[in-house]
């Protein structure tokens, strides 16, 4: 499926999605509340079959956080990017660890680095940061560490 066809099909499936223009792969934005059903549909729909989550990350836009999911299908070799805008003070989104197992680790990393709470995650603990880490989430833009961070 080409990107255009994919876009048409996805628009039919998810009419509420807002599309971004000028990207390499079809990119659309959804609300966090929708994500659980959208993810299930993307994974199980026979024409889409996005079975491979090759990147899951978060971007801090200072006013809000954006979850970015890069999805690929090993059957059809098409890729899409799904984004979800999160509230910066209380970021919450449904987990996809049950759909794509690789998300378990990606989400643990995002949880500690950005403080995003993944609802329903089986084992949401610190992964990279040391046990007992307190304070802010280091990858956020307003994180300050006077000892280890060098300001240019």
């Amino acid at each position: 499926m080409t990107n255009e066809e994919l876009k048409i099909q996805l628009t039919a499936l998810f009419p509420t999605a807002t599309w971004e223009e000028g990207t390499e792969w079809p990119t659309f934005q959804i609300t966090p509340a929708e994500w659980s059903t959208v993810a299930n549909e993307l994974r199980t729909n026979d024409a889409l079959k996005f079975d491979y989550l090759f990147c899951e990350t978060c971007v801090d836009w200072k006013t809000h956080l954006t979850m970015v999911y890069h999805l690929s299908s090993t059957n059809f070799r098409h890729n899409i990017v799904v984004k979800a805008k999160l509230d910066r003070t209380k970021p919450e989104i449904a987990t996809v660890a049950g759909i794509w197992r690789t998300a378990e680790f990606f989400e643990r990393e995002v949880y500690e680095m950005y403080g995003v709470n993944f609802l329903g995650h089986p084992d949401l603990r610190l992964l990279i940061l040391p046990d007992g880490w307190e304070g802010k989430n280091p990858m956020r833009k307003d994180f300050e560490d006077p000892i280890n961070m060098i300001k240019l």
């Binding site: 000028g22 990207t23 390499e24 792969w25 990119t27 079975d51 491979y52 989550l53 090759f54 990147c55 990350t57 971007v59 801090d60 970015v68 890069h70 090993t74 070799r77 990017v81 794509w100 197992r101 690789t102 378990e104 680790f105 990606f106 990393e109 992964l127 990279i128 940061l129 040391p130 280091p138 990858m139 240019l152």
Partner: protein, 371 residues
């Protein structure tokens, strides 16, 4: 201690493998729950070599941040640099000269051979055979010497820059590579003689650490580890970059899905890399080794993602640009991170000895996992 062991002897024994442990090849910490010798659970604890490279890159320019990425997967430093250079070039739409493309691919493949050779020796050492380690280093040294001559470094080469490569090839490069090819072909049969055909080795590897193709995809396992389960995942074939679409090479696939299959995939992948080097070494086009670029690179506003195939699997570089001289957000999708997430699934129910066999064939490089 006595109470503790006596208490847990009735049920489980929880042991820490690492952060300092010979089998983890670095500072990986695995918390293992054992019932006798049988593994019930493996829980990785990361971060012992976490340097927050992603955060660091946010304050470095597009020329500078490439050098940091050599320190991620230090065994395929060239390929890491290559991925970053490709991502910047994609954003700035720089056309790379043909000569630079060929040099980059040559270097990538030599790196892949060197990396697989180190893996081969280290994995045999995990299984208790020390000798292959030294034999593998014999060939790897030659590649490192070639790298040193051209790039000036043996491990963290920092040779790729946006727009091409840093400097032209050393005049001896072609001769040295051809010498290496001769040496490699004379010695490669030793690898099979020493390790592959050994009955103890095969017994240790076969049926160990099985992972099904569905789980491979679900866990995001890539690279030789995925191809051992028969999942086609070679980015060089699926989403060709540089000149890989014009080259003759096969994607090595095995279907058994166990440690031995992954072992065979890596071993044969070295032969495919040799094939690529042979095709290119006499056909390096003349011309510039670097495109003309501005002194200060500024990526346009937007998001750019490149995928390349490192020796360990798929490396993704995701740059979010706000139009400035530094990336707004950068994310490295490292192959080791996802491969490690499947370790628990692979070794559960196996013996303690199976853990090292499975971990060895995943070829984990810890800085690549922690970043």
């Amino acid at each position: 201690m006595f109470e503790e062991v006596a208490k847990t002897a009735e049920g489980d024994l929880v042991i820490n493998v690492g952060p300092q442990h010979p089998a983890t090849h670095g500072v990986l910490h695995l918390l293992i729950t054992l019932n006798g010798e049988t593994i019930k659970k493996v829980e990785p604890h990361l971060g012992y070599i976490h340097r927050s490279i992603e955060k660091m890159c946010e304050s470095l320019t597009y020329r500078q941040f490439i050098y940091v990425t050599s320190r991620m997967d230090y065994l395929s430093a060239h390929i890491n640099n290559h991925a970053c250079a490709l991502c910047v070039e994609k954003g700035m739409q720089i056309e790379v000269p043909d000569r630079a493309k060929v040099i980059r691919v040559l270097m990538d493949e030599l790196t892949r051979i060197a990396s697989h050779e180190l893996w081969w020796g280290a994995m045999a050492m995990d299984l208790g055979a020390f000798t292959p380690f030294f034999h593998a280093f014999r060939e790897r040294e030659t590649i490192n010497d070639i790298m040193e001559e051209t790039c000036g470094a043996r491990l963290t080469m920092n040779y790729m820059v946006p727009g091409g490569v840093m400097q032209d090839l050393h005049p001896d490069f072609q001769r040295r590579v051809k010498e290496f090819l001769v040496l490699y072909k004379r010695k490669i049969h030793e690898y099979d003689e020493m390790v592959t055909g050994n009955i103890i080795f095969q017994n240790r590897m076969k049926g160990v650490g099985y992972i099904s193709p569905e789980d491979v995809i679900s866990y995001g396992v890539t690279g030789p580890a995925a191809r051992g389960s028969g999942v086609s995942s070679d980015i060089r074939k699926l989403y060709p970059y540089e000149i890989y679409d014009k080259l003759q090479f096969d994607e090595v696939l095995e279907t058994a899905g166990d440690s031995f299959a992954r072992y065979l995939v890596r071993l044969r992948e070295m032969d495919q890399s040799i094939r690529i080097v042979e095709q290119l070494i006499d056909n390096i086009p003349e011309g510039d080794f670097q495109a003309k670029t501005k002194a200060v690179l500024k990526l346009p506003k937007g998001e750019f993602y490149t995928r390349v195939e490192t020796a360990r699997g798929e490396l993704g570089v995701y740059i979010v640009s706000e139009g400035g001289t530094t990336p707004y957000r950068i994310k490295f999708r490292s192959p080791g991170f996802s491969n490690l997430s499947a370790l628990d699934h692979m070794v559960r129910g196996g013996k303690l000895g199976d853990l090292v066999a499975s971990m060895g064939t995943l070829d984990l490089v810890i800085p690549d996992i922690d970043r």
